[in-house]
């Protein structure tokens, strides 16, 4: 029964016609088992954090067990209250939303220039962008923060959003994808008298849904996880994100398990988001990346 589904298998080295052989059946079963094991390894650490969150610090450091002795949701409620997570979820949502939009628009436009418009001398700019990949970002953080203060944007979401507009990796992803689009289509649009921006909005964007999705996913996860830069820009402004709070939380008088409970709350939103959009995400991550 299990193996019936293999008869219309569309990809991979095992083909539908192989499955009749018992040797292949064993192989397929082994692969299936391995995949289950892999998924277990992937999700186990997150499950462990949740289980550990039900322990108190004494049980956590002394009992050599994974399962907690009791499931007391009160502990999570206390951490939730102490943290005022609601407010920081909201801030994070704003930071992530703006960052994602900036990541798509700015990097997309630049890649459009590199891949399609190719104005005279664009290769210099392209080389500079590629070089940005090689620069360790941590060192320049002081200079960046100083620049931000200089133009008076400290304590605002704007520098957080715009930072995602200058990402060489996203530019590369966009560029590779745009170059794979049929050029006749763009030519035709141009002959119809479409302006440069109109071509981008009317032709490029609709065709680029898969890659936009990919960049959006990357940007959402990256923006959600980022902590040092947002901390330096937002701390004390009342606009702190969840990760900024988590980063600061570890230095306050709290025990290790409370920190783990806070970690649970920081994992939940992206997990929920991911669960809702999982089909779109995996499909487009696949489609968008075909070009590599």
């Amino acid at each position: 029964m299990l193996f019936q589904s293999y008869t219309d298998k569309k990809d991979g080295a095992i083909r539908g016609y192989d499955i009749k052989s018992p040797k292949v059946k064993v192989l397929a079963a082994v692969i299936l088992l391995m995949c289950f094991l892999i998924v277990l390894i992937c999700v186990f650490p997150a499950i462990w954090v949740m289980l550990a969150g039900f322990k108190d610090i004494k049980e956590f450091t002394r009992n050599a067990t994974i399962w907690p002795t009791a499931f007391d949701f009160e502990k999570f409620r206390v951490t939730w209250k102490a943290f005022k997570f609601g407010k920081y979820y909201f801030n994070s949502a704003i930071a992530v939303g703006g960052s994602t939009i900036c990541a798509v628009i700015f990097n997309g436009l630049l890649a459009y220039g590199f891949a399609v418009l190719k104005p005279k001398g664009y290769k210099v700019a392209w080389a500079l962008v590629m070089w940005s990949l090689l620069i360790p970002a941590t060192t320049s953080i002081v200079a960046v923060i100083r620049n931000i203060s200089l133009i008076g944007l400290k304590g605002s979401f704007i520098p957080i959003w715009l930072a995602f507009g200058a990402n060489a990796f996203y530019v590369v992803l966009f560029k590779e994808f745009f170059e794979g689009l049929p050029s006749e289509l763009l030519e035709a649009a141009r002959l119809d008298g479409c302006g440069v921006l109109q071509v981008f909005i009317r032709i490029m964007l609709p065709l680029s849904k898969p890659i936009i999705m990919v960049v959006a996913i990357f940007a959402v996860t990256a923006a959600w996880s980022d902590f040092l830069f947002p901390y330096l820009v937002l701390n004390g402004s009342g606009k702190e994100t969840v990760m900024v709070k988590l980063f600061a939380f570890k230095d306050t008088p709290t025990d290790a398990v409370s920190v783990l409970r806070a970690v649970v709350f920081s994992i939940i939103p992206p997990t929920v988001l991911f669960a809702i959009f999982q089909k779109q995400i995996t499909d487009s991550a696949a489609a968008g990346a075909v070009k590599g």
Binding site: F83, K84, V142, I145, N235, G236, D251, T254
Partner: protein, 498 residues
């Protein structure tokens, strides 16, 4: 229509190119100009404020409003502490109506501090760590508050050895102590009881010598299964603790040549003996926690507080760590001195400082000092200051933190008496549990950190600790020689730069 649009776009382009060329091309010049400009304005400010200070003498009624940002505000999750500080702000409203106090919680961290200073967002007053003052003074990131302290009459109340830690070479002072601390040995009394190591009155039989430390630790390990002693070997804190152990073996780790240069002395026979002792704790006595290379300052308290280990080198200003944070009952914590070794008994001491933004005006610094006075952290026995101390003690008591005397960072008799009174009224622990510790820290054995690139010295020592703990056959002498060479090399670099 179209032409207009093109023109507008061209206009925008011109603006953008201009900004871009400013950013990319002339960025450097324009920026230095900008910083120079701000510097000028700050110096202008200073002269102005000095002038206004003089003016104030003539017309005391005309005071300008002052805004103070409080980096010492408690963290969001500490509701009781916040309520207490809100009370302080209320007090200040009547006491100093010109000043507005704004919460700006900042937990000092080395990776966030400089970016904050460079962007001009340092709070007026913040709390730093004991390791930092000299570094912050050298990088001109904090304000000289000598004249303000003088104005308040606090200058001579400060414990002279702590004052030295907060001063530069010319005797200017850059901070005031929140707390002094001296390293001692924290004991988990529950484990001592379980191992039968208590006297008839229930007080722990604490180790008085290094030999006894090893024996006591062994007894605890055998009887209870918990580790006897927490040794730190993950980061610089390991070298920090070790330096105190080494002193007790008679070592001096860094020699001050008196001319601003230093000589490394990590491979003296005494220092090697101390390291051999630490090694024996792991391989002969086997009394340490599962992995010292994973233990840092915080996890050490977790081990002690949760009953995984019985003894830990720590200071009186951190009694909230095992108790409030890690759940040890308040009456099950005791402290004694770091055991005596062949070289004597020493306690490393220092202070947790309040420091002030380099951009703070004298008015702001004064207003901040007033606030600290109301918190009960200054050398003042005014009604407000006493109220502040009481609020603090009450708060600690409610949170299950031992209320014990702080290290005498202010030496006025009046303030010492006031503090003693607070302990008497609000004390929630049996002071005998802490007596051996306070006996030692009021003795001759107090010693401040080694001079000269201390953090680098700690790093080198920590590397040796990591080696002797992970390798049973480690050659201690060779490792200490290497550490000594490395440390000397760094000192030479610094010496030649001076």
């Amino acid at each position: 229509m179209k032409k207009k649009a093109v023109k507008r776009i061209l206009g925008i382009v011109c603006c953008m190119t201009l900004t871009m060329s400013m950013l990319a091309g002339c960025g450097s010049t324009s920026e230095t100009a900008a910083t120079e400009a701000t510097q000028e304005t700050t110096t202008a400010d200073e002269t102005k404020t000095e002038a206004s200070g003089e003016a104030e003498v003539q017309e005391p009624a005309e005071a300008e409003p002052v805004e103070v940002t409080l980096g010492i505000w408690p963290e969001d999750t500490l509701a009781d502490d916040i309520a207490m500080h809100e009370g302080f702000v209320e007090t200040m409203k009547t006491k100093n109506p010109n000043a507005t106090y704004t919460p700006a919680y900042y937990k000092y961290a080395t990776d966030t501090f400089m970016p904050m200073v460079e962007s001009g967002n340092c709070p007026t007053v913040f709390e730093s760590w004991f390791t930092e003052p000299q570094k912050l003074i050298a990088s001109k990131a904090v304000a000289n508050i000598t004249s303000e302290l003088d104005g308040k009459g606090w200058l001579n109340s400060m414990n002279p050895s702590i004052k030295e830690l907060l001063s530069d070479k010319d005797g200017n002072i850059y901070g005031i102590p929140r707390d002094g601390y001296a390293l001692g040995l924290m004991l988990n009394v529950e484990l001592f009881e379980e191992a039968g190591l208590v006297d008839a009155d229930g007080y722990p039989l604490y180790p008085k010598t290094m030999e006894e430390l090893a024996q006591t630790a062994k007894t605890i390990k055998d009887k209870t299964g918990a580790a006897g002693f927490v040794l730190l070997a993950k980061d610089g804190a390991g070298g920090w603790h070790f330096s105190n152990i080494a002193w007790n073996f008679g070592a001096t780790l860094c020699i001050d040549n008196g001319d601003g240069t230093f000589t490394s002395n990590l491979n003296s026979p005494e220092a090697i003996e101390a390291m051999e002792f630490v090694k024996s704790l792991k391989w002969d006595y086997d009394v340490l926690t599962a992995d010292p290379t994973n233990e840092d300052w915080g996890t050490g308290f977790t081990q002690l507080g949760t009953g995984n280990a019985a003894m830990y080198i720590a200071a009186n200003d951190a009694v909230n760590q095992p108790t409030q944070v890690n759940g040890l009952p308040v009456d099950k914590l005791a402290m004694c001195a770091i055991p005596e070794g062949p070289g004597g008994q020493y306690s490393l001491f220092g202070g947790t400082p309040y420091m002030f933004s380099k951009d703070a005006t004298p008015e702001q610094i004064n207003a901040a000092l007033d606030y600290i006075e109301v918190m009960g952290k200054g050398p003042s026995v005014s009604e407000d200051a006493i109220a502040g101390m009481q609020a603090d003690a009450e708060n600690k008591s409610a949170a299950g933190v031992p209320v014990i005397p702080r290290f005498p960072c202010w030496t006025d008799q009046a303030i010492l008496d006031a503090e003693a009174k607070i302990i008497e009224d609000y004390g929630n622990v049996d002071t005998k549990m802490f007596q051996p510790y306070f006996d030692a820290t009021s003795s001759e054995g107090l010693r401040s950190e080694e001079p000269g690139l201390t953090q680098d010295m700690y790093s080198e020592l920590t590397k040796v600790l990591q080696s002797v703990i992970t390798d049973k056959n480690a050659d201690v002498t060779a490792l200490m020689n290497t550490a000594n060479d490395n440390y000397q090399k760094l000192l030479d670099d610094a010496n030649s730069a001076n």
